[in-house]
Symmetry: C2
Subunit: 597 residues, 2 copies
């Protein structure tokens, strides 16, 4: 069975050395996140993840959830673990103190979330979805709704869900059919069928707060006629106690490729009582304001599966004796050398490692932009951070889930035949990680969001700001011999991204299909450029901290530079392929008639 050790050194390097949260003490909540507090939280979180959640990961996979008479049972041990989880106050780590949250930085919450998800993705989705419901209500709910629901979502006494998809529509929410009939008391009766509702029904909490997209009777067609409703599974009395069961029931749970420990439900709404959240017909907008947060969460899941997959592959590669090094026996006293001596095994391990470290840096940096966007005093600073979030969130959601999945596949490959056997646990990482490429907007949708919405928004303000950041980093590193290779890598990546951007500007206006055809490769090129930017910065930090004063041991910085080199030599060369594909245009995609496929 796989093990998991929270990568505390790397997380501390990022939060303390590289991002240096203490520089952001003007942000609300950040003064409370002193390095000591951060370390204490990380260590407690690591214990919970390693000791409580991880041992349930395979149990959850093999048992799955069951549905009987409308009641969903989670796998053995999940309920006790959930109690431990909520008692630790983990759901409200970055939540609003007004409703019981601790108000700490979202970037810290993300780091904790990564550990939980690495230990047990299916389990951690339960509190994760509560967090989504919390955010929707926190941003768009009435004061009364907030008072009623937020404290119990934050404490974990109740959980939450997001209800968007219906059998005939997932991506195209304009097709939603679920109806909301207004009642005289100001409530609505919600009727319809929602599918793919993660954590839609379970036995962990006494109530589940569903956030549901539905149509008012007079709603315009399409996406402009969708409203958001809060629909508790059990109605809540005026005094906050639980009342009658509402008209929502779980009709079935899905048999899925992975995340078996999380119940994916079909929910039937039959005149369920709900209340409007936000303005009528503005439900999709309300959803979109939360999307960045949710998508960063999914990007994190990609990384979160890749990390333990990598760890276990590395352990196996050090232990498994098979064959001899091409340059002569490295363990002559043993019947064979450990397979980690083989360069091709190293290639797989280093790919995973470079993704984990680079992806984590980018992800945490982006989460910090989220903190700035929501907590900075200065409107300009908020806007700039929000622009970066908007631009890079779809990039990370798509890139990290795709590459995280690929890393899990590679980690499984290191195990040879044993990687294919369920008991070894490596194939579960692959199956679990697979969903992250699909949900919360399939990766192709992220690419379209990037080129169709985020890139042209405000005359390209976000991407120009991104180029500006890069240019500053290049200027700051000018003439530094140590940094030179990474600087050159970033110059090259920036050049390719600029060329691709110009190509898009020149071609996508005249023919939007050109934007669609270039989207995924442009996204990857953006990711590679952003990673180059991160690695240049990390190398700079590592070199500086080698002189002393760092948060982690000296060997760590040495190793960081080696992984940085691998990124430069083996990952970044992909950029030329991406640019070539962008420039190839959409003609080769559209030439074939639809019925010729």
């Amino acid at each position: 069975m796989p093990s998991y050790t929270a990568p505390l050194d790397d997380i501390r390097f990022l939060l303390h050395d590289h991002l240096d949260l203490t520089r952001y003490n003007e942000l609300r909540g950040f003064p409370d996140a002193s390095p000591d507090v951060v370390d204490a939280i990380l260590e407690e979180g690591a214990k919970l993840a390693q000791d409580v959640l991880q041992p349930l990961n395979r149990v959850g996979d093999t048992q799955g959830c069951s549905l009987e008479n409308g009641v969903v049972r989670t796998p053995d041990g999940f309920k006790a673990a959930y109690e431990t989880y909520t008692q630790g106050g983990w759901i409200g780590l970055s939540g609003d103190p007004e409703y019981g949250g601790q108000g700490l930085p979202a970037v810290l919450s993300l780091a904790v979330g990564e550990m939980m998800s690495s230990a047990n993705m299916a389990f951690s989705m339960y509190p994760g979805l509560s967090h989504g419901a919390y955010s929707a209500l926190h941003q768009h709910g009435t004061p009364e709704q907030k008072t009623r629901y937020l404290p119990k979502l934050i404490s974990g006494e109740w959980s939450g869900t997001m209800n968007l998809t219906e059998p005939h529509c997932g991506t195209d929410l304009g097709l939603i059919k679920t109806k909301a009939a207004p009642q005289e008391d100001g409530s609505y009766k919600i009727s319809g069928t929602k599918i793919f509702i993660s954590a839609g029904e379970h036995d962990l909490t006494s109530n589940i707060i569903h956030l549901v997209l539905a149509r008012l009777p007079d709603a315009p067609e399409g996406t402009r006629g969708i409203s958001l409703f809060v629909v508790p599974k059990v109605l809540v009395n005026e005094d906050g106690s639980l009342g009658a069961r509402n008209g929502v029931a779980c009709g079935s749970i899905e048999h899925k490729m992975g995340i078996h420990g999380n119940a994916t439900c079909l929910l039937n709404y039959d005149e369920a009582v709900g209340w409007l959240v936000g303005e009528p017909n503005k439900g999709l907008r309300a959803m979109f304001t939360m999307m960045n947060e949710a998508r960063i969460g999914v990007a994190m899941q990609g990384l979160a599966q890749s990390e333990p997959a990598y760890q276990n592959a590395a352990i196996y590669a050090r232990d498994r004796l098979q064959g001899r090094s091409l340059t002569g026996a490295k363990a002559p006293d043993k019947p064979a050398d450990p397979i980690i001596v083989h360069p091709d095994v190293r290639r797989m391990l280093m790919s995973q490692r470079a993704l984990n470290e680079g992806g984590r840096a980018l992800l945490y940096w982006l989460a910090l932009q989220g903190d700035i966007a929501s907590r900075a005093q200065d409107a300009k600073a908020r806007e700039a951070a929000d622009d970066l979030m908007g631009l890079l969130t779809p990039v990370l959601k798509s890139y990290l889930t795709e590459q995280g999945f690929a890393a899990c596949v590679d980690a499984q490959q290191v195990f040879g035949g044993h990687g294919y056997i369920a008991e070894w646990g490596m194939e579960q990482f692959v199956r679990d990680a697979r969903i992250a490429m699909i949900y919360e907007g399939a990766n192709g949708i992220q690419a379209l969001d990037l080129v169709g919405r985020k890139l042209p928004a405000n005359g390209g303000r976000a991407v120009f700001a991104f180029f500006g950041l890069i240019d500053r980093a290049l200027k700051d590193s000018e003439g530094d011999e140590t940094l030179k290779p990474w600087r050159e890598g970033l110059v090259a990546a920036r050049g390719d991204l600029e060329a691709a951007t110009q190509w898009l500007m020149a071609n996508a206006m005249a023919n939007p299909d050109e934007a669609g055809g270039a989207a995924m490769d442009y996204l990857h090129l953006t990711a590679l450029t952003a990673l180059s930017y991160m690695w240049l910065g990390m190398v700079r930090t590592a070199v500086a901290k080698q002189a002393g004063g760092g948060a982690v041991g000296a060997a760590f910085y040495e190793n960081k530079l080696k992984t940085a080199r691998f990124f430069l030599d083996r990952v970044l060369p992909e950029r030329t392929m991406r640019l070539a594909r962008v420039k190839a245009g959409a003609g080769n995609l559209l030439a074939l008639a639809a019925d010729a496929f």
Copy 2:
């Protein structure tokens, strides 16, 4: 549930138009394979695959195999399907007529095998493994062994297995511990444990003929002390009737990520009676002579999963209404456009399609080299074909299984959330396809085989011959305006491959780790070059047949050219990345200490 339609047009294009089997009538068996006979066989094979095997694919996945008291039961319907399969004489299609085979070309047998594997990978492994055992005995068995076992392996009355792996060794067969104790009557008593034995025990046949690697008492250590034995599950009397049960028993069956319908067994040999096949201590060599055949079979499995995954993704993309085309509604009378209008959906479908068509061309061409290598009159022709087989078999095994898996993942992605749900069947393609990257030599081993063994063999004779083939194709297409883009693509790919080959020659001698570090990227570059060579040839064939006389309809050739364009614009650009990685050297892989991972 997914459907499958055998790609008969593409297969006929390859066998009739492109490879034109009638040109090879000097090869034994080929005169019997007239176009009419080939078509009749393909059509019958397609029916069997579509009507009998495919409907059992999901049954096999959900039921799996069960083990009770040493007896393995295959899923419902497998036994009846196996009877239909054997009655059709499919196992012996290219088998030796002396033992009941039909002696037809191996390339035709591969085409049929692809259809069977597309329809039901787990099922088709049972006869597939019999074929492997047949080949081992046919090449290395005594006349008596051949007479005893081959007719019943070919008829399917008995099945066969290959027993190589033990708990502590898969890749490194030098570590094998299973013992063979000589008996006075010339037989041996075999004792030991073998794992991962596909089709190792089942209820489809009355006997199972195990081919087992084991050590003689006086055997030298390592790979030079391994011998091959035939060990029937049930002893065979002199008259060919079945006698007592032999000392081999199934200890357990594995819980696997996929191919649930095929029993992967742990087999305990406890003084089981066996007989030596081939010379003592030359067992590995006997195995290696079959490796090309087995590895081409696994390469085929990668392609064989990708094909139906693609077909179903295309059907779904045409049916699923979601969103509108970026260039205006294409189905204004419907609530949304089918998702096939979106360039990014096309990108995924075209990738799969280009892989299937290009991979199939390369695979069939290589199988034809196998026919030449074993059936040509001329020793030089046999040698040249054998060289190409040796060089490109590891390339195809690794490339087609990796890209075939990736294509299944992409096809699943087209389905959005439904792709993750078991009932839709797309995730089964992903899980089933995954094993092909691992077994019959993990893909990293294929890459090492290529750069460490096949490339330097005979002073690089094989790769120079490969360059020679390319140069002839370039010469033959000189000045042809239609072929120009593909010609230029091949020139570029050839240039990159030559540069990579020179880099290897210059660096790998001095430091073998450089060969190991470059191996996988060199393999991909070889695959891209070989595919370029195939596409240039196919374009040439398609253009010629557009004028008339082709085996398939006119629209087919038109579409072939469009897919060829996609390959050129979107697949081939990967070559620059592969060359850059080769040239980056192994330093970035080996810098990190083993215990720093």
